[in-house]
Symmetry: C2
Subunit: 231 residues, 2 copies
Amino acid sequence: MPNERSVGSDPGSRDATSIPESIDAYLADVAAFEAGSGTPAPGDGKQRILDAAAELFLTRGYAETSIRLIADAVGIKPASIYHHFTNKDSLLTEILEIGMLAVDRAFDDAAASTPPEPADRLERHVAAHLEALFAHHAFTATHVTVFPFAPPAVRNAAVAARDDYEARWAELLGEIAPQLEPDALRIARLALFGAMNSSVQWFDPKTSSTADLASAIARTVAHGMIPTGAS
Amino acid sequence: MPNERSVGSDPGSRDATSIPESIDAYLADVAAFEAGSGTPAPGDGKQRILDAAAELFLTRGYAETSIRLIADAVGIKPASIYHHFTNKDSLLTEILEIGMLAVDRAFDDAAASTPPEPADRLERHVAAHLEALFAHHAFTATHVTVFPFAPPAVRNAAVAARDDYEARWAELLGEIAPQLEPDALRIARLALFGAMNSSVQWFDPKTSSTADLASAIARTVAHGMIPTGAS
DNA sequence: GACCCTACCGAACGTTCGTTAGGGTGGCAA
DNA sequence: TTGCCACCCTAACGAACGTTCGGTAGGGTC
């Protein structure tokens, strides 16, 4: 309920700062690209800017990444970026929205299938979050490390979607662990978020599988790392 | 056990804007360490620069915080900062060293007392880490959020001490949860770090006690958030 | 008084920043 | 053919950046 799904695939309207459509187009193009078609799609320039900027923002930081550096990475001149984005802030805003959309859809997919056991349900959602985190790594991980230092205007534009996503997790964990009090539940939720999101800084999806990571984290969170018996 | 001895005993500090921090112990150590040059360095002004810079780096980010902004916060002119620090990088380096020293000493204190139960031992160390995290908040939290985007030279200078601290935790958790395999142990350790350190972004030590936070996190990590059930 | 030292300042340096103005393509629609 | 439009360019703007330099006030030491 909290999240809005009325995206649609209508590429018609283009209101100066109308962003959701382009996000949808972006995700569609990414899916098409990953499906095998390596041909440069129309509107390719903007997405290449987004990709390069997200990667640079993530590795270097927002303020440390200049427009000129992004332009060099794409292979164009700095002024050309302003044909696709009104300013640097809007570039980061769009990246954050793409990342939020990715994890939100992953939550949808995980919620669609309903495992019986609470532990399995938790693990499925943890796996969905982590897979989205690394599948669209540059866009989702930006939420973890870059967001805290983003300009206030950018943070304010992204905070609503973030709150919605956290609310979905709060509801889920409330059902999974009904015995926990609200305070403990809130701490457990935020600690779980910290544990999962911190993995973008130390987990390499090329050496291990995200499924293994998800099961390890989910198992620890579900049953703890000390075998039952000790008080 | 927590090391907060000389908070307000001396009327030496005359300013109301500075955050009360017990960094004098650190400065004594630095003076003893650099005894070769023979410069005693009383350093009241330097201390205020460190406090203001740490707070600004933490809230705004490193690149986003200008030397002029730090100088304004302290009440001096930008050029005066270069009397105490060779450049901006060295300012961040020193802040990171102070933060690392704080958590490392907290680990020492926690290790000095040896509780019998693994769960109690874990909780004591979690509490020690979290208390250091919030007692020297601006200096320790900088390691969490600012470090990833610090200039490479600064990161390289701080990475050794960070590795040492992580190794101490790895040994501790290996003793607490000997049944876990190395891979699972590593993930559990890093996930625990992510959970604890993320609290600097959502926990307010003024509304709740860090001890409650520590027990909540430690209990979740030790026994999980799902009551004893089949996996 | 001569000398040194710490702490700070005013003024400026050269560089990089985000951003804008204006011009030139090539392709597609009429 | 003409006109438009998406796209990218060169060139430059003012502002802010980290940093340096020469200088000064004050205090301690012989």
